[in-house]
């Protein structure tokens, strides 16, 4: 929300600098995200704070001053220029040549009384270039304009950096500035600063200038001056001229009306327009501007109806306004021309003929304030198109005359229904934003009184006496019992009781003191304070906030430390990460959102998938077509990442640890098991200048080696086995299931070439992509935490090799098992170092060569003992594997 300091000062005296004020508000929870300076220089930042330097135009105090145009004369040689004679406080008048169209009506009218007040720039003044759109600046120099020398000028808003308006020069109201002498530095006339405050949902009460002023008063100890609510009402009483019927008090607790007759629709006064513009609203006309002005000032959104339209609809009788839920199939055309089919929860303002407006959100087209001379209308601050043709006013204009009688509504609407209506109809109006955050019903009569009086003052009508006020569901007065000791308990330090009372009263709470207890009554402009414990907590926040969080002392937790537990699952998971990084793999973290179609690509067409056969956790509101469900597997996203990296990187060794999401029958929430994914592809080493590097392409056994290394690093205890299996995403002969102590952990293998192809990794069989996906809990279940370290051998070992020729179909694991079993205690280790097929090994056979280490821990083996063991191994191989010893 934009808050001009000049406006704020109407309600509270401010002695702090703009920058200090911004810092105080920020610390108190009204975060000032920016300060816009108008003409005045940026001040020093408060101690310890930095401020972004502002590059706005600072008005030179000597050269940019208030000017009074005493006379406008025709330019002798140019129809589109005039000569303005400006009094700028010096003895002589300065003649400015200008093309400002808004001076033309004054041309050759003789001396002007009162004169026209306008910002005046001397020779040498720096102003923005009115014809440029890039914010570039210029310095005034003397030059001739159509033969007349000119060295100064009267300025447009754009030239001063106030707005983008450059249609004419900025004219200031005599009523407002007439008592300022010409020559007053412009900084003192129009200089201002506008705070941009980020309004969090809990400070809806501050979503208006008075609300911010109240905070300033509480924070600085200054007095708050509320705007007057007196109305000069000289017309016949409003009673009998309109009726209100509230059918849904929950949704519309209160509805008030005031009536103003015989108005003249025109531009609102300069001060009001200026304030609206500073707060980001576009002035429309005096009636609409007054509703917006009061909404900004007090926070109560208002809606002005054309009273005569309502009477006409009621057959010339006093209208009855009904607030109700829609009839089935009912429609409403809002003032932005949109035709809405209404939902059953949209609370409406209607009359007996039909809907007139969305309550609290947006008015209807038909009953809006109308003035044919006004270009476009917008009673609720909706941004409207500059191009009037696009707006649907033609229809209404054809049969309507300018509004003369205004029925002004101020009501109270339910937070939730306002919010739902805004969402379902995509209407984000200033009124809706306020009601959806909460406006206290007590604000309605205040708003309607303040606004009708302002309208009267600026449109010249007569106010009907009294207001219509239907308060169908009065808000309960909120009272909170607050023990001072509770404040101390939650804050951890003592704020003097007097200080607490003072701060609460400054925020307009009523406080009665009763021993340790404070009986606090919540003021009727705020809805954010609850009852009971919530209310206490709400008040403690108010106290701490106003006291200043920066003043709250710092302590070390004195409370007992809860028992600390060993977080085994996390420790093992982190150990696994380290083990894989040590093994040369790079961790990736991918999106957990994917599509069923993407994961379906993991199974070659025509095959049945071996991935979990369960439904997906599916998004009801996906934000993009490639992220519609929660994944079943890591593999698809890992392949995507590998494909992306393959464009620039040959060699990839990746892993990911993350969850997959598997709905469970009968449970609302899915299982979220964690998975480990591995992916290797490319050459084993990187080439270097000294030798070629190991550029062999990684294969299944590189993957298996990584897994073995990681399992060893983790100290997984028990029987680890790799069983040949089939899996739809893998090469049928190059895939295994990892089992630890008989439990299946997951699959590893060479990704099916057809899968590689659809994932843009190519169909090159010589460049396999190796991948694995394991269940993390199963993988880490048998990690050994306590284990013995073997003593370093003191006895020498005897090394012997054995090469066995066996049938090609016999798995190496079986051969090794036979060797180990036969070797007994003497055999310390058996390491396969060669697999050979081909001449002279017969077809259908292979030779497996093992390096055997024999050793006993306590004594040196004799040659004879080793020979005996070796022979036993050879024998076992012959009998159990039909192996031949290779020469």
């Amino acid at each position: 929300m934009l808050v001009p300091i000049s406006w704020l000062k109407d309600y509270v005296d401010i002695t702090l600098s703009v920058e200090e004020l911004a810092e105080r508000l920020t610390l108190a929870g009204l975060e000032v995200t920016g300060i816009r300076y108008i003409g005045i220089p940026q001040g020093e930042p408060p101690e310890g704070i930095n401020l972004p330097p502002s590059d706005h135009l600072v008005w030179d105090r000597n050269r940019l001053v208030l000017g009074a145009i005493r006379e406008v004369r025709a330019h002798p040689d140019a129809d589109r220029l005039v000569l303005a004679l400006v009094d700028y406080g010096d003895d002589e008048l300065e003649q400015c040549v200008t093309g400002a169209p808004n001076l033309f009506p004054f041309k050759d009218q003789g001396p002007l009384d009162p004169p026209l007040l306008a910002p005046f720039a001397h020779e040498g003044a720096e102003v923005l270039d009115g014809h440029a759109n890039d914010g570039s600046r210029m310095i005034l120099k003397e030059r001739k304009l159509r033969g007349i020398p000119n060295r100064s000028m009267v300025c447009s808003e754009k030239e001063l950096g106030i707005s983008n308006e450059h249609e004419g020069i900025m004219l200031l109201d005599w009523d407002e500035f007439g008592d300022m002498p010409p020559g007053t530095p412009l900084q003192d006339v129009l200089g201002d600063a506008v705070l941009d405050i980020d309004m969090l949902p809990n400070i809806a009460r501050c979503y208006n200038i008075v609300g911010v002023a109240r905070e300033v008063a509480a924070l600085t100890g200054a007095e708050l001056r509320l705007p007057p609510l007196d109305v000069v009402a000289e017309g016949p009483p409003i009673e009998g001229q309109v009726r209100i019927e509230i059918r849904e008090p929950e949704l519309n607790p209160r509805f008030t009306f005031a009536l103003l007759r015989d108005i003249e629709i025109k531009e609102s006064p300069g001060w009001m327009q200026r304030r609206l513009k500073l707060t980001g609203m576009r002035p429309i006309n005096n009636i609409v501007d007054a509703t917006n002005y009061v909404m900004l000032e007090l926070g109560e959104p208002l809606h002005a109806f054309d009273y005569d339209v309502l009477r006409e609809r009621a057959g010339g009788n006093p209208p009855t306004i009904i607030t109700r839920l829609p009839e089935p199939g009912e429609h409403l055309v809002t003032l932005d021309g949109q035709d809405h089919t209404l939902d059953d929860f949209n609370i409406l303002v209607a009359d007996q003929q039909g809907a007139l407006a969305f309550g609290g959100v947006m008015g209807g087209l038909e009953s809006e304030i109308w003035d044919p001379s006004m270009e476009v209308l917008d009673a609720t601050g909706v941004e409207v198109d500059e191009d009037g043709d696009k707006l649907p006013h033609g229809k209404a204009a054809a049969r309507r005359v300018s509004t003369t009688n205004v029925l002004l509504e101020a009501a109270s609407w339910n937070i939730v229904s306002t919010r739902r209506t805004m969402q379902s109809h995509k209407m984000n109006t200033e009124a809706g934003i306020r009601f959806s955050r909460g406006v206290h019903p007590a604000m309605a009569p205040r708003g309607v009184k303040r606004c009708i009086e302002l309208m009267r003052q600026i449109s010249g009508g007569t106010v009907a006496q009294g207001i219509i006020d239907n308060y169908a569901l009065p808000a309960e007065t909120v009272e909170v019992d607050l023990p001072v000791s509770e404040v101390d308990r939650l804050l951890g330090f003592e704020i003097p009781r007097d200080e607490i009372v003072r701060m609460l009263r400054a925020l307009e709470f009523t406080v009665e003191e009763d021993g340790d207890r404070l009986h606090v009554t919540v003021p009727d402009h705020r809805l954010d304070i609850g009852t009971g414990l919530t209310g206490r907590s709400d008040l403690v926040e108010e106290i701490a906030r106003v006291y200043g969080y920066d003043r709250v002392p710092i302590t070390v937790i004195a409370d007992e430390l809860p028992p600390q537990w060993g977080n085994v699952a996390l420790e093992r998971e982190e150990h696994l990460r380290d083990a894989l990084a040590r093994a040369g793999l790079r961790e990736i973290v991918t999106y957990r959102l994917t599509t069923p179609e993407r994961e379906a690509l993991l199974t070659p067409q025509g095959q049945s998938s071996d991935w979990p056969d369960v439904p997906y956790v599916e998004l009801a509101n996906p934000i993009s077509a490639d992220k519609t469900v929660m994944r079943h597997t890591l593999l698809a996203s890992m392949l995507d990442i590998a494909a992306a990296n393959a464009r620039h990187t040959d060699r990839q060794m990746l892993f990911e640890i993350g969850h997959v999401y598997l709905p469970v029958d009968g449970a609302r929430l899915p299982d979220e098991p964690a998975r480990l994914g591995l992916l290797l592809t490319g050459p084993r080493g990187v080439p270097d200048w000294q030798d070629a590097g190991d550029t062999a392409i990684m294969n299944f056994f590189d993957l298996k080696g990584v897994i073995d290394t990681a399992l060893r690093d983790l100290r997984v205890n028990g029987t680890i086995s790799y069983q040949p299996v089939e899996h739809s995403s893998f090469h049928p002969g190059r895939v295994a299931e990892l089992r630890i102590n008989g439990r299946a952990v997951g699959v590893l293998g060479q990704v099916h070439p057809l899968v590689c192809e659809v994932f843009d990794l190519g169909l090159d069989l010589d460049r396999p992509v190796l991948a694995a996906e394991f269940d993390l809990d199963t993988l880490l279940a048998d990690v050994q935490t306590l284990r013995e370290i073997a003593p370093v051998p003191t006895q020498p070992a005897v090394y012997q090799d054995i090469a066995l020729i066996v049938d090609d179909s016999i798995p190496a694991a079986e051969v090794e098992a036979v060797i180990v079993a036969a070797g007994g205690d003497l055999l310390e280790a058996a390491r396969l170092f060669d697999v050979y097929r081909g001449d002279p090994i017969p077809a259908g056979k292979k030779s497996l060569a093992y390096a055997l280490t024999y050793r006993l821990p306590d004594r040196t083996l004799t040659d004879k003992e080793v020979a005996k063991a070796h022979a036993k191994i050879a024998k076992a191989a012959q009998t159990r594997l039909q192996a031949d010893l290779r020469g």
Partner: protein, 344 residues
């Protein structure tokens, strides 16, 4: 014999002066001083001399032998020095040639930052507690003091699933409720945990926003947990994480599940508070939201809010990593380009 001795001596010295290699030197040693060397032989033949000459000869021969041994040692050292000098001279490398690359792996930056968080918080007694990604609406919002249609729900753009009431968690705060139920033993035990995890927001992916991101929530519940403790704890974290001398600032904020609520700023880690592009010239970086656990949340977690109190805080590891390393685009994190990851 004496003449012979002297002539061998002279000859040996003469030859020695020409020797420049270790091999030649060994030959010389064998020839003169070895078991069958000429000097040794002559010495052995001392017995053949007449008795009266033996003493003089023996004396002389020993002198010569020692002289030659000395000369040999001197020569040997000279040759060693020479050979070493030659080796050092010839062994020079072009040290500017590239080193041979060692292929290592590494951890994702998100993991690295999470671990830093774990370590710092563990020292302060906060242990890791993890909870689910797919949450129910009740735990994510309602139990955190945001009933349906509460305006504060607008603060989170939520992914809903096709199962009514099931959403992707928008923050790690639902973990507070789960931690209180799992660890609080019906509101009888104090708690000190951090809750890391992936969160999801319905947002267009851009350089500044992601659909998924990590968050680390903290929660302390006890019989005497105070606002001053919250400030002290967060300030301590900031000092350990960002440096002893870093100033910390607390300012009012709003979260439905804490009250009072605050935002925490730390003095900009890049400019030290002078003002720079990263801190948008404010000198401050926002590092956390925090507050005292709302009594309704304590109650929903099984605690009696009149006797128990607590604080909670939340931080974004990716944002921290970005600030620390001047990373301009959050999409790098889940993009997993190796040229990005390998810089960590």
């Amino acid at each position: 014999m004496l003449e012979q001795l002297d002539s061998i001596y002279a000859q040996a010295l003469d030859e020695l002066s020409d020797i420049t290699t270790g091999d030649a030197l060994s030959g010389w040693e064998r020839r003169y001083l070895g078991k069958k060397g000429e000097v040794t032989q002559l010495l052995r033949s001392t017995g053949k001399l007449p008795k009266e000459e033996r003493a003089a000869f023996g004396q002389r021969a020993n002198v010569i032998k020692n002289e030659l041994i000395g000369a040999f040692a001197g020569r040997e050292e000279a040759i060693r020095q020479h050979e070493l000098a030659t080796q050092l001279e010839e062994g020079a490398l072009d040290v500017t040639l590239p080193g041979r690359p060692v292929q290592t792996g590494g951890l994702h930056p998100a993991t690295q930052t999470l671990r830093e968080f774990y370590a710092v918080w563990a020292e302060m007694g906060f242990q890791v507690f993890r909870s689910r990604d797919v949450e129910d609406d009740e735990t994510n919002f309602t139990l955190l003091n945001m009933p349906p249609h509460h305006p504060a729900r607008d603060m989170w753009d939520t992914f809903y699933t096709t199962t009514p009431g099931v959403i992707l968690r928008t923050h790690t705060s639902p973990g507070q409720i789960r931690a209180m139920h799992e660890l609080g033993e019906d509101g009888t035990q104090p708690i000190r945990v951090i809750l890391p995890g992936m969160c999801y927001r319905y947002e267009q992916i851009s350089a500044r926003s992601e659909v998924q991101f990590n968050q680390v929530e903290g929660l302390a519940v006890g019989r005497n947990i105070r606002l001053t403790d919250l400030k002290g704890t967060i300030a301590e974290f900031a000092r350990r994480m960002y440096g002893e001398d870093k100033r910390v600032r607390f300012r009012g904020s709003y979260f439905p599940f804490t009250e009072p609520s605050m935002e925490v700023d730390v003095e900009c880690i890049l400019c030290g508070g002078e003002g720079c592009g990263v801190c948008k010239y404010t000198g401050w970086l926002e590092i956390a939201g925090c507050g005292m656990v709302h009594p309704i949340v304590l109650h929903n977690g099984g605690y009696d809010p009149t006797e128990w109190s607590g604080f909670a805080f939340g931080m974004g590891p990716e944002r921290m990593t970005m600030l620390k390393h001047g990373i301009q685009d959050i999409r790098y994190f889940w993009g997993n380009d190796l040229r990005f990851l390998e810089q960590f």
